[in-house]
């Protein structure tokens, strides 16, 4: 059973390439993480305080990028059924966040209005 799956896995890796041959470059991943965090901090501190609630729902939607990982776990041809079920639930959960996150953010932002035509205080 497991041998069969292993055989399947190796045949599929030929198509996807760079799977078992070279290990991932950990250092570049850590660099990416550090830079993205710094960039994120720089961008977020400048977010208007008025918009902190929509900011949180927007970042919810963005971190639902976990859909990408979930699709891979759900959809890979050679993965056994049990794994696919785990991926399926994960994909459902993160897709919920994508949809509700973007929709509610936009719904809230639509409500922020300037008085009349000119934006100056009365």
């Amino acid at each position: 059973m497991s041998l069969l799956l292993l055989a399947d896995a190796t045949s599929a890796t030929e198509v996807v390439s760079k799977h078992s041959t070279s290990p991932p470059d950990y250092w570049s991943l850590l660099f990416v993480f550090a830079m993205a965090t710094l960039l994120g901090l720089g961008v977020i501190v400048r977010v208007s305080r008025l918009l902190h609630t929509p900011l949180m729902s927007l970042t919810n939607a963005i971190s639902a990028i976990a859909v990408v990982g979930s699709i891979i776990v759900t959809g890979r041809e050679e993965y056994p059924l049990g794994i696919r079920i785990l991926g399926f639930v994960a994909l459902f959960a993160s897709m919920t966040n994508v949809v509700s996150g973007f929709l509610i953010t936009d719904r809230m932002l639509k409500m922020f209005k300037q008085p009349g035509g000119n934006g100056e205080a009365k």
Partner: protein, 468 residues
């Protein structure tokens, strides 16, 4: 070739995500930011799905459709329920990370043990730990925010709480370290299950001692955890898009947590392990003191004479769903030539920015929503400060009473206004259980009743030809 195309799409998506957050600098550009985010997400999903080797299309399609079916109603909740919705979405995010981490652990340890390096094992442990503790922690937070009946609203404490919590986390970390030292050892499966169970338990125990007043901070921290669990997933799957998008979320949660902590003059550790607001409740009733109350008519007359009115909203406004009545009052006052400003404390409500969203829903122009530091400069010129459902954020004890749990917290200087009206549902102390000195000041008059009804009556009174 496809590999490069997928990576290029991921790169474009990353850039768009950054633009998306940049749009939030200003309400005018914010909706364009959301559009950039939607495009980025669409590209990321399409590029991943189109990869060769992804063949179970029906499974993917059904999961996506189910996600949409649940996501759309979740986006239509009333704005007063946004904190709960946010907590639930953190739970979903944590769940996705935890499950993907578990799936990869099983795949590698059963089928390709040579792939399960120590680095990957460490990433999986981080992903699963953060993911699953976010699941139970966020669900419990959502339950508390929704005021689910069988959940205690007040902080729950018991002896040796912090010691046992830290011990539990330490045990989970120990299991994690053992796993990293020997990812494919004979006990790996057992240790992995242990990490999951301990993370789930720790999430519950972390939130149990936390009261409503601390929810803005806690939600921000959970937001950060959900982002970091996506980062860990990126390390597990060797996927830079997951790392960048997760890091943006992690950074956002971190900044919001810091802002919330600062706005309460407390540290992370104090929020998480302090069990706020259960010490003081006992001392509060040492002496009986008297409030001065005012009638709607009387309050309306004073309001009519004012030239600057500052409205200070708090969570009580959200509970009473009073935002539209507040808008009516705002209209009546501005029509009479009175300047009306809203003083927004960073931790008013149950999540960062909660009050702004509620008032925006009632179509109050955002240029009249003023941050605490800015409005405090104007408070001595303020004729009437109208406190609606706020308590701790206007409590002068924060300035002077060293023994108070909120001592040192920056507050809105309502007590500096010439007259203060405070609308309050009952004579009980606020959520944090702290008595409020402001209510006993000689310039303060209480308007007891449901915020929605009181504000509505005030507006009606002002509309009805002003006094008798």
């Amino acid at each position: 070739m496809t590999h490069h195309l997928v990576q290029l799409t991921y790169l474009v998506a990353t850039v768009l995500f950054v633009f998306s957050l940049q749009g939030m600098n200003d309400p005018k550009t914010a909706r364009r930011g959301v559009q950039a985010g939607i495009v980025a997400m669409f590209l990321a999903i399409a590029a991943t799905w189109a990869q060769p080797g992804i063949t179970h299309h029906i499974w993917i399609l059904v999961a996506i459709v189910a996600g949409i079916a649940v996501g759309v109603p979740l986006s239509k909740v009333p704005l007063t329920a946004v904190p709960q919705r946010t907590a639930i979405s953190h739970a979903f995010g944590g769940l996705a990370a935890g499950l993907v981490g578990t799936a990869k652990f099983i795949l590698w340890s059963v089928y390709e043990p040579q792939e399960l390096s120590q680095f990957r094992m460490a990433a999986i442990v981080a992903e699963v730990l953060l993911g699953f503790l976010t699941v139970t922690g966020s669900l419990l937070a959502a339950g508390k925010l929704q005021e689910v009946k069988w959940l205690p609203q007040r902080p729950v404490t018991y002896p040796f709480q912090n010691v046992s919590n830290i011990g539990l986390l330490g045990l989970a970390l120990l299991f994690g370290v053992l796993l990293v030292l020997n990812p494919t050892g004979p006990a790996a499966g057992f240790l992995f299950a242990g990490v999951i169970l301990l993370a789930l338990a720790f999430g519950v125990l972390l939130i149990i001692p936390i009261g409503g007043a601390d929810m803005p901070t806690v939600i921000s921290i959970l937001n950060s955890y959900a982002g970091l669990s996506a980062v860990a997933m990126g390390f597990v799957l060797d996927n830079k898009l997951l790392i960048t998008a997760g890091a943006l979320d992690g950074a956002s949660g971190l900044i919001l947590s810091i802002m919330m902590c600062r706005a309460m003059n407390r540290s992370f550790a104090n929020v998480l392990f302090g069990a706020f607001g259960q010490v003081q409740a006992v001392e509060a009733d040492s002496q009986v003191r008297h409030y001065k109350s005012e009638t709607i008519e009387g309050a309306a007359q004073v309001l009519e004479q004012a030239s600057l009115v500052v409205i200070i909203p708090g969570y009580g406004l959200a509970v009473a769903q009073a935002q539209h009545r507040v808008r009516e009052l705002y209209d009546q006052l501005t029509k009479a030539g009175i300047t009306v400003k809203f003083a927004i404390h960073p931790v008013a409500g149950r999540m960062p920015g909660h009050m702004n969203v509620l008032l925006a829903e009632a179509e109050i122009p955002y240029s009249d929503l003023i941050e605490m530091d800015e409005i405090n400069a104007d408070m001595p010129q303020c004729d009437v400060a109208l406190v609606i459902g706020a308590n701790d954020v206007v409590n002068p004890a924060a300035r002077s009473v060293k023994s108070s749990p909120i001592y040192g917290m920056p507050i809105i200087d309502a007590d500096k206004a010439k007259t203060v009206f405070a609308i309050k549902r009952s004579k009980n102390p606020g959520f944090a259980g702290i008595d409020n000195e402001l209510y006993f000041s000689d310039r303060t008059f209480m308007l007891f009743g449901d915020a929605k009804a009181v504000v509505g009556n005030l507006a009606k009174h002002l509309a009805g030809g002003g006094g008798h």
